[in-house]
């Protein structure tokens, strides 16, 4: 019982209370109207998650991580509401760029259906570019790293190419590829291909020689050597490139969807920012953040599963 109470009297819960109290402060005159109800509903939902996690999760570390993250979210929301509508810190001139939190969260409710479509389209766009990048880069990396043994030269070349921003290719992609979407996919593909190729090649070159010898003494065929020995042995390093590719893909999403896209999170943010509607643009930015966090979480699960044979 005492331990349960100890799990309730934690700073994130106090921050939730402060956030609610902050809503009661008088509003300054502000260009964008706040919708405190949306802030309260959203915060209450997050608080519910926090309470369930505090009481139900037995392991210390994940519980602490989740409650700390939620605590940071509450702290940020408090700062946000105080800095905008309660005290108007930036000054009137900048009010349009700094909407109060409730106004932004209202967009989630109002724009829920189109936002889902945007999320779906963006994920498909990234998935297309990313998967094409991965399925081409890994076999090529295995091939270059293993067969040609020109690892050093190829290593410098991939470093050269991966240091070029994929945005540079946009005009060429638009001219050469049949559709705007193909050009967007191409940007994501380039963001994925080079880091994955580089990490696969260095992974192959760093495979423990004694493992290769062990496989050779079993007389494995070429194909088996490449895909059942070299690939899994290099996988820990390949994942470094895969992760880098994923991060850069999301960073470039907004730019990729500048190329004639008619939907998608990047398009949504671009579109509203261009018209000065930062309330909606911020809602899009937050959605991108949540999607990225969720996909990174899934990526880590996959990585943990595929590398379960390695001492963590």
């Amino acid at each position: 019982m005492k331990r349960m109470l100890k799990r309730i009297f934690i700073i994130p819960n106090a921050l939730f209370a402060i956030l609610l109290l902050a809503q009661l402060l008088p509003n300054k005159p502000y260009r964008i109207e706040d919708r405190p109800l949306y802030t309260v509903v959203l915060a209450a939902a997050v608080e519910a998650v926090l309470l369930i996690v505090s009481l139900a999760v037995k392991k210390d570390r994940p519980r602490r991580v989740i409650s700390d993250v939620i605590g940071c979210v509450f702290a940020f929301l408090i700062f946000w509401v105080l800095a905008t509508i309660k005290f108007d810190l930036p000054g009137n001139a900048k009010q349009a760029v700094f909407p109060p939190p409730g106004a932004v969260f209202e967009k989630f409710a109002v724009d829920f259906a189109p936002m889902l479509i945007n999320v779906r389209d963006s994920i498909f766009l990234i998935l297309d570019g990313y998967l094409i990048g991965v399925v081409t880069a890994i076999p090529l990396g295995l091939f270059f790293g293993w067969n040609l043994r020109i690892g050093d030269a190829a290593g410098y070349l991939t470093k050269f190419f991966s240091s070029i921003s994929p945005l540079v290719y946009i005009p060429y992609a638009i001219v050469l590829l049949p559709t705007f979407r193909a050009a967007s996919v191409f940007v994501i593909f380039m963001a994925t291909f080079w880091p994955t190729l580089a990490s696969t090649m260095s992974g192959v070159l760093n495979v423990e020689k004694r493992i290769i010898d062990s496989a050779k003494t079993l007389c494995v065929g070429r194909f088996t050597m490449l895909f059942q020995i070299i690939l899994p042995a290099a996988l820990p390093q390949i994942f470094i490139g895969l992760y880098q590719g994923l991060s850069v893909s999301f960073i470039l999403l907004v730019s990729a969807e500048m190329i004639g896209a008619r939907s998608g999170l990047g398009y949504y943010v671009n579109n509203y920012a261009n018209f000065g509607n930062y309330t909606s643009a911020l809602a899009g930015v937050i959605t991108i953040g949540v999607v990225v966090a969720f996909i990174t979480f899934l990526f880590n699960l996959l990585q943990r599963f595929l590398l379960r044979w390695k001492q963590q």
Binding site: E208, R210, I211, D213, K216, T217, W309
Partner: protein
């Protein structure tokens, strides 16, 4: 009987960043089919290079090694290998490792592979660990699994490169007894070439010991080990002739390797 090894005028080089070194020069000897032979010598004497040639991983610079009259040019199905480290693939469980080996070498169905693998897992005392990954096992258990894989391949020849070199003394004795009991009980008489720098280990296991000189890898001496089998550690020391053989090997080992005495590894 198959598994006869002939080494004829074998020379081999070892190459690293500093250049090429001749580590074996004009070496010749034979190993009978079904014989258990240990190669001993201090580190750098070329014993691992010799085993590399037998594995087919190192090409000789002159002469060659022959199995039943056929020159070794590549790894082959007639040989199974146990290394000191990394014999097993870390991303496969114990059972998968053995099954993978079987699939490469023998033409068997999946069910047969699985059955043979489980049989050898039991024989080496790893029952209950078949679904563990190598990192979840101790060094000794990993080598048990590596031996199980090598045995399951049912090859004519077993090549072992200091397989117990990284295992503590107590477990090493157990592993030696396990290896001998597996070898004795196999239907097929396997030829074993066992590289070690441990004199007691060589005496305990072998029919014959070949000691290499510590430069240019030539034969310093050869010893028959006539002790009866099956051998166990608790009684072998009392076997007549054990002490004198051991002393002879020791003194020769240190004569040949004046530097090795400083290592204190074989103090009497």
């Amino acid at each position: 009987m198959v598994g006869k090894i002939e080494i004829k005028n074998l020379s081999a080089e070892y190459a690293d960043k500093n250049g090429k070194f001749t580590v074996l020069k004009d070496l010749s000897f034979n190993i009978q089919a079904g014989e258990f032979v240990s190669i001993i010598g201090s580190s750098g004497c070329g014993k691992s290079t010799l085993l590399g040639v037998l594995q087919g991983l190192i090409a000789p610079s002159a002469g060659g090694a022959y199995i039943d009259g056929e020159k070794i040019t590549a790894p082959g199905h007639n040989r199974a290998v146990v290394f000191q480290h990394y014999s097993l693939f870390p991303w496969m469980t114990v059972q998968k490792n053995i099954m993978f080996g079987l699939k490469q070498v023998r033409d068997l169905s999946r069910a047969e592979c699985s059955e043979i693998a489980l049989g050898f897992i039991e024989k080496v005392g790893l029952k209950g660990f078949e679904h563990k990954y190598p990192f979840q096992l101790s060094g000794g258990m990993q080598q048990r699994a590596a031996i199980a894989r090598a045995m399951a391949l049912d090859s004519d020849i077993l090549l072992m490169d200091e397989p117990f070199g990284a295992i503590d003394a107590k477990n090493r004795s157990k592993m030696q007894e396990l290896l001998l009991s597996l070898w004795d009980n196999e239907k097929k008489a396997k030829t074993v070439v066992f590289v070690t720098h441990d004199i007691d280990e060589a005496i305990f296991l072998s029919d014959r010991i070949i000691m290499l000189t510590n430069s240019l890898g030539q034969i310093a001496a050869e010893f028959e080990v006539p002790f009866p089998r099956p051998r166990v550690h608790s009684t072998i020391r009392e076997t007549p002739g054990y002490v004198s053989l051991r002393n002879k090997l020791m003194s020769l080992f240190y004569d040949e390797n004046p530097g090795a005495a400083a290592g204190m590894e074989y103090t009497i």
